[in-house]
Structure formats: structure tokens, C-alpha cells
């Protein structure tokens, strides 16, 4: 692109030929006021506030900076007297239409307009058309348009009716310079869906995401609704965004697989007595993590939904775990993170009362017990007993807006009733919903809690019955981070040692067909789940591919002639075993 030279307010600058003037000025740090200019939308020059003076040789012109393409040798003045005079006039005209718009008032103040000459209009819309154009050109929803003409011109939807084309993307509202467009009930709706506040379609999935990369949320991204927008594409300097990418299935040939599909938290709604989802300010442990995170919606401030600092917080342990109604197992991680929460709360809100409701404290790790002792010193309340119920049944005015916890304190032997501002539920960790089918896919079995079974609980804790498939983390069962890391390390080293070997030991218990005994009935062929048996019509014999055979022995049991035999599980051996079993 050709480079040209121009002067702005006496400074000589280089710019691309035909570059919009406003951009060049911005680069220089020269602010040109504008209302209708938005970088994502083609400049349109409708508000005229950006009017500047351009001299080219002897020719002097007043132009709108937003859409004026620079050319070689021009000289620009952004705040010459003539410019100021013109701009003042323009602002006054605008005020004449929209006298109560804060942006305009601020400009007027800036330019010393005390009382506009043409009075103050009552409209809010300056008819800049940004909303219409963003809806048309960017979003592509074509909901908004100009109607009527002359002084009666206004922005609306067709026939002024609620349009089903509108995708509630909020683009119009966000570009509107005057705040004329708003979305009603926006806040409530969002918080209902997302207690932690809204997220943009493009976001980092969660704070500790690895790799920490932005993702586009299919459901809220405009492009996936209308095909328009793609603003992000223009904005992204790395050119990393590609909306056309499709979810594809990729086949990768691998020798080993590490199953580490993690866990999910139990749905708090299952426990009706705790009113999760019914009352505000009841958070799951993960919700609290988000809330408490410095990158979180509140910037790490612990506040209730209405923005108040809580005075008392209850943390309930063993919600859904160690509970015959839900999960009998212990989720293993709750005790420690609950202590951590209590500690963090105390750190951030010194005078906040923290109540830990527990069954047993299981602080089994290195330094864990010490941490617990420390918390005791920090003044965290520990109540041994399970919370029976959370309600909003307040007794008096002072309790209004509080959550009432009722629990038996088994240490004291009384039923306690504790009003708090916020409750954190330490919900059980559960296997992923599709754990069973995933496990089946990899030839592993799941236990009754749907955690994948290891090959041997003590001797092969990271292996699975399927060779080359390993497990690490919560997929195998609840465990904390050190354990997970240890297991992952063990699994990876097992994998690496397999990869290092470059060859695999096949199953030792494979089946073989004794050819001389095979009568060629091919009963075995249909029974093999691994298609390891081939029938040779010409020889009238079946043969087993031992590399494919996994040694289930189904063919062996079905072979009427006893030609198929399983190594180490030969008929002879089993008969002898049975005889041995029954010998005494």
C-alpha cells in the first residue's frame, strides 16, 4: 500500500493513501470527537461532530474526519477556530433534537455551550443509524431500520412490532452512542441463567483452563445465528479466528490411551432440602471458586447477589457423598477445599462468621491436619452435624434476606439454627454422565458408582483390563490434586515405557485351533467379537489371528470338536481343575 505524507495540526505524519483521517489522527493521539463513528462499521459521517478543516494547496475544505480519505500533501486542522465554530453549531443542532443525552451534554460543556440556541429537544436518538447499520451490516439480523422521513424519521422494527428476527444480541444497544437503546430485564435474565454473571460469546472457558485459550460459545455467538458479525475476525491480529471450522471426527492411530475424563459435580438440585437453585446465595463449591477468583465476575470480591458483603457463611460438607441416599463413597476433596474456603473467607472478610458443618474431618494428607488446626485458631466455627434443611423462613426483621440453616450439633447435642448470608455446598464428585459408555468404548468396566475400574486395585492402579489403556484422575475415583498428579505421572510413565518398547506383548491366553482336529464348521467365526478368526474354505479349516485374539475363549467353548483351545485355559486344564476342586 502506498505511503503518503500529510500534516495534522502542523505535525507531519505518514499514513496510507486513502486511510480515514480519523484513524490517522487517533494514532497521533489527537482526539476528534465523534458520535456516529464505530471502528467496526463503515464510516458514514452522519453526526458531523468530527468535522475538521483540510487544506490541499490553496483549497480549504471542511470534511468529516471519520470518512475522509487522506491523500498526499494535505494539511489538517482539527481544532482551528473554524472547526470549533462549526462543531459548536453542530452540537447545538443536535441538542435541539436531543437535549438530555449525557454524551451531548458533555460535549456541549466541553465546547462551552451553556444554553443551546435552538433549545433542547426531548428525543434521545440522534438518528446516527449505528444501530440500524450494526443490525444490518454486522449482525445481519435486519431487525432495525429507519422509518418515515424528514423530522419524523425514527428507528424501529418493522410495523413497530416485536420482531422474531431479533436474536437479542444487544449489538444495537452496545453501539448506541446516546444510550437510547436498552435491553429490558437483561440483568435478571442473565443472572438467573448464570449466577456468576454474563459471559461473552468469546471467552476463556474457565480460569485454570489448559491451554488457556479463548473459545467461542456457539450458542451466543452472533455469527452462528445470523452468519454476520465476525467482528472478532477483524479485530484479532493473530488471525486466529475461523468461524467456518466444523466439529470433525478425527481418527488418530495411537498405541496407548490415557483415560482422564475427570468428574462432574453432583447436581445440587437433587438435594431438595438444601434449596439450591431455589434460594439465592447458595453456591456450589465450584461456584464459590469462580466468585472468589480474582479473574471472576466480581474480581475476587465475596459478595452476595445483591452486592452486599456477607456477614456469615455456612459451608456444608459431604453433600451427596457419604450419604446412602446418593453416594456412599467419600468425595475425598471436600474437607480440604472447605477448609481452604473458610480460610480465604476469613482472609477477605475478617469479621465474617464461617460455619463448617461436617460429619468427620478427613485431613489425611501431608500438612492437612496442621492446616485444620490453624483454622481452628483462626476462629472458624466447626459444627459436627449434618445440615438438615436450608430455608428462608425468617423469624424477625433482622433475619430478612438470610438463609436459615438447621443442624444438629452432635458435639453439644442440640439442634442449632444458624442464619447466614451465603451457603457453600460441598457437593459430591460424580463420574461423568457418559462414563459407562466411555469405559465400554475402551473395554474397561465401571464400578457401581461409574468410576472406571483399574486392572487391579493395588497392583495395577493405573492400568485397565484393556492393554494400552490407562487411567488417571477422577475418572478412576475421587481424589485430590496431589493424588491425581501422582497417578497421572504413573500412567504416563507406564505409557512411555510401552512406547519405548516399540513392541507389544500380545495376550498370553489366546486361542489356537488345532488344524488336524478342525472339521471346518466355522461356528467359531461368528462368535469372535474381534473378528480374529478366518475360515479358509479351500482347506476347510479355521484359523485364529493371534495378534487380534484377546483370549476370551468364547470360540473354545463353542468348538464342538475341541479343536479350538485356549492357552492356559485348555479344556484339559479346566477339567483337571474341576476335578481338583471337588477332590475333597
Amino acid at each position: 500500500m502506498e505511503t503518503i505524507k500529510l500534516k495534522i495540526n502542523g505535525f507531519e505524519v505518514e499514513a496510507y493513501d486513502k486511510q480515514p483521517l480519523i484513524e490517522v489522527a487517533e494514532k497521533l493521539g489527537i482526539r476528534i470527537p465523534t458520535l456516529c463513528h464505530n471502528p467496526i462499521i463503515e464510516p458514514y459521517g452522519v453526526c458531523r461532530v468530527c468535522t475538521v478543516e483540510v487544506r490541499h494547496g490553496r483549497r480549504v475544505r471542511m470534511v468529516t474526519a471519520c470518512n475522509y480519505p487522506v491523500s498526499n500533501g494535505i494539511e489538517v486542522f482539527t481544532d482551528s477556530e473554524r472547526v470549533i465554530r462549526n462543531r459548536k453549531m453542530i452540537i447545538e443542532w443536535l441538542l435541539g433534537r436531543c437535549g438530555n443525552v449525557p454524551v451531548l451534554n458533555k460535549l456541549a460543556e466541553e465546547y462551552g455551550i451553556a444554553e443551546p440556541r435552538f433549545g433542547r429537544g426531548t428525543d434521545n436518538c440522534i438518528l446516527c443509524g449505528l444501530c440500524v447499520r450494526v443490525c444490518q451490516d454486522i449482525v445481519g439480523a435486519n431487525v432495525l431500520g429507519f422509518f418515515d422521513r424528514g423530522p419524523n424519521r425514527y428507528v424501529s422494527t418493522s410495523y413497530d412490532e416485536t420482531s422474531d428476527l431479533c436474536i437479542t444480541c444487544g449489538a444495537c444497544a452496545s453501539v448506541c452512542p446516546t444510550g437510547c437503546i436498552t435491553i429490558e430485564g437483561l440483568q435478571e435474565g442473565i443472572y438467573k441463567e448464570m449466577p456468576m454473571g454474563p459471559i461473552t460469546p468469546i471467552h476463556i472457558d474457565f480460569m485454570q483452563a489448559v491451554p488457556k485459550k479463548a473459545v467461542i460459545d456457539h450458542d451466543s455467538c452472533i455469527n452462528f445465528k445470523t452468519g454476520g458479525c465476525k467482528v472478532c475476525v477483524d479485530v484479532c491480529e493473530a488471525e486466529a479466528i475461523d468461524h467456518s471450522m466444523q466439529e470433525t471426527e478425527k481418527e488418530v492411530d495411537v498405541g496407548t490411551i490415557l483415560l482422564s475424563t475427570g468428574f462432574k459435580l453432583q447436581d445440587g438440585r437433587e438435594l431438595k432440602e438444601y434449596g439450591y437453585g431455589k434460594y439465592p446465595n447458595i453456591l456450589t463449591s465450584l461456584d464459590f471458586e469462580v466468585l472468589n477468583n480474582a479473574n471472576g465476575p466480581t474480581g475476587g470480591k465475596i459478595v452476595t447477589q445483591d452486592g452486599k458483603i456477607p456477614k456469615a457463611i455456612g459451608i456444608i460438607h459431604c453433600v451427596g457423598s457419604r450419604d446412602k441416599k446418593y453416594h456412599e463413597y467419600c468425595s475425598r476433596v471436600c474437607c480440604m477445599y472447605a477448609l481452604k474456603f473458610a480460610h480465604l473467607i476469613k482472609e477477605k472478610i475478617h469479621d465474617c462468621e464461617v460455619y463448617n458443618f461436617y460429619i468427620d474431618m478427613r485431613c489425611f494428607g501431608k500438612g492437612y491436619e496442621e492446616f485444620y488446626n490453624r483454622l481452628l485458631r483462626e476462629g472458624v466455627n466447626f459444627v459436627r452435624g449434618k445440615v438438615a434443611e436450608i430455608s428462608d423462613a425468617t423469624l424477625d426483621k433482622s433475619e430478612e434476606g438470610k438463609l436459615i440453616l438447621r443442624a444438629e450439633d452432635t458435639m453439644v447435642g442440640t439442634v442449632r439454627r444458624i442464619p447466614v448470608d451465603m451457603v457453600v455446598l460441598c457437593l459430591a464428585v460424580e463420574a461423568q454422565e457418559d462414563a459407562k459408555s466411555t469405559a465400554r468404548l475402551f473395554g474397561c468396566a465401571v464400578g457401581k458408582d461409574y468410576f472406571v475400574n483399574e486392572k487391579h486395585p493395588k497392583l495395577a492402579p493405573v492400568s485397565t483390563p484393556s492393554d494400552g489403556v490407562f487411567i488417571a484422575g477422577m475418572v478412576q475415583g475421587p481424589k485430590d490434586i496431589p493424588d491425581t498428579v501422582a497417578q497421572a505421572g504413573a500412567a504416563s510413565s507406564a505409557i512411555l515405557s510401552l512406547i519405548q518398547q516399540k513392541e507389544v506383548e500380545t495376550e498370553v491366553v489366546t486361542a489356537v485351533i488345532e488344524e488336524s482336529m478342525c472339521s471346518g464348521c466355522h461356528i467359531c467365526v461368528d462368535l469372535c467379537p474381534y473378528n480374529a478368526i478366518t475360515f479358509y474354505q479351500d482347506r476347510k479349516k479355521s484359523e485364529i489371528n493371534e495378534a487380534l485374539c484377546k483370549g476370551c475363549g468364547t470360540c473354545v467353548a463353542a468348538c464342538p470338536a475341541g479343536a479350538a483351545q485356549q492357552r492356559n485355559f485348555k479344556d484339559v486344564q479346566i477339567y483337571a481343575e474341576i476335578r481338583g476342586l471337588l477332590a475333597i
Binding site: 484377546k550 475363549g553 468364547t554 473354545v556 467353548a557 477339567y575
Partner: protein, 143 residues
């Protein structure tokens, strides 16, 4: 031998991946079940030739149990399907041969169901005690 003294002998042919591990679990978890069962490991319940069952019954067992993974959970995908198909026919064969089909069981017990294993053995032992000694096994009666 009176019925109350009779201690049945059960041969349990257990699948390596589920029931055998389940039985193991029952052991490590110190679950109580009658000592009448004698277990035999096979790789899959599909490996169990009905001949083993009849062989065991003929050679002194009062009951035979095949233990396998739950349907769909087979380590070998389909082994327990064929095991089940065989077992149905086997039951009929036993019955028409005059062997009480209750002496033969096919049970799905997963690796984590140690309690179920113990439960099944308890039930089976009780049932066999009611059935009395296996008439095929003449030697055992005077032994």
C-alpha cells in the same frame, strides 16, 4: 446324611474381569459368605463350555454357578451374550435330563459387587441345602 448336615459343594466358574474380581473384593472386604463355594477362574463367562457344568455335576458338585460381567459390560464385548444363550439351552437340557435346573446358575456380578457375590453364594447355598445332595453324585453321599 440328614438335610441339616448337608453342606453343598458349589463350583463357581468366574469371569476374570468381573465376577472373579468381585469375589476377590468380597474377600478383601471381609464379607461373610458360606464356605461351600469353590471358585475357578476363566477369562470370560463365554469360555464356559456347558460340558464343564455337567462335568462338575457329575464329579461331585451339588451346584454350579457361572459368573460373568453384566450384559453390555463384557470385557470382550459379547462373551456374556453367548454365555447367556448357552445357559438357557443348558438349563433346558439339565431339566430334561432330570437334573434340577436350580443346581445351575448364571449370575452377572461386576467387579465392584463383592456384596452381590456374597449374597448370591448365600442364596445359592441355601437353595442347594433345600434341594439336597446332587443325585448324580453317588460317591459323595456316603463320603
Amino acid at each position: 446324611m440328614s438335610k441339616s448336615e448337608f453342606e453343598p459343594r458349589i463350583v463357581a466358574l468366574l469371569c476374570n474381569w468381573c465376577t472373579y474380581t468381585g469375589a476377590d473384593l468380597a474377600g478383601t472386604a471381609r464379607m461373610k459368605y458360606p464356605p461351600n463355594v469353590r471358585t475357578l477362574r476363566v477369562m470370560c463367562s463365554g469360555r464356559v463350555d456347558p460340558a464343564f457344568v455337567i462335568f462338575a455335576l457329575q464329579n461331585g458338585a451339588d451346584g454350579v454357578m457361572i459368573g460373568g460381567c453384566h450384559i453390555g459390560d463384557c470385557h470382550y464385548a459379547k462373551g456374556n451374550y453367548s454365555s447367556r444363550r448357552r445357559a438357557v439351552i443348558l438349563k433346558d437340557t439339565l431339566e430334561s435330563l432330570g437334573i434340577d435346573p436350580r443346581r445351575f446358575r448364571l449370575e452377572w456380578i461386576s467387579a465392584s459387587e463383592g456384596d452381590k457375590f456374597a449374597e448370591v453364594i448365600k442364596k445359592f447355598t441355601k437353595e442347594l441345602k433345600e434341594l439336597g445332595p446332587n443325585p448324580l453324585n453317588k460317591g459323595a453321599q456316603d463320603a
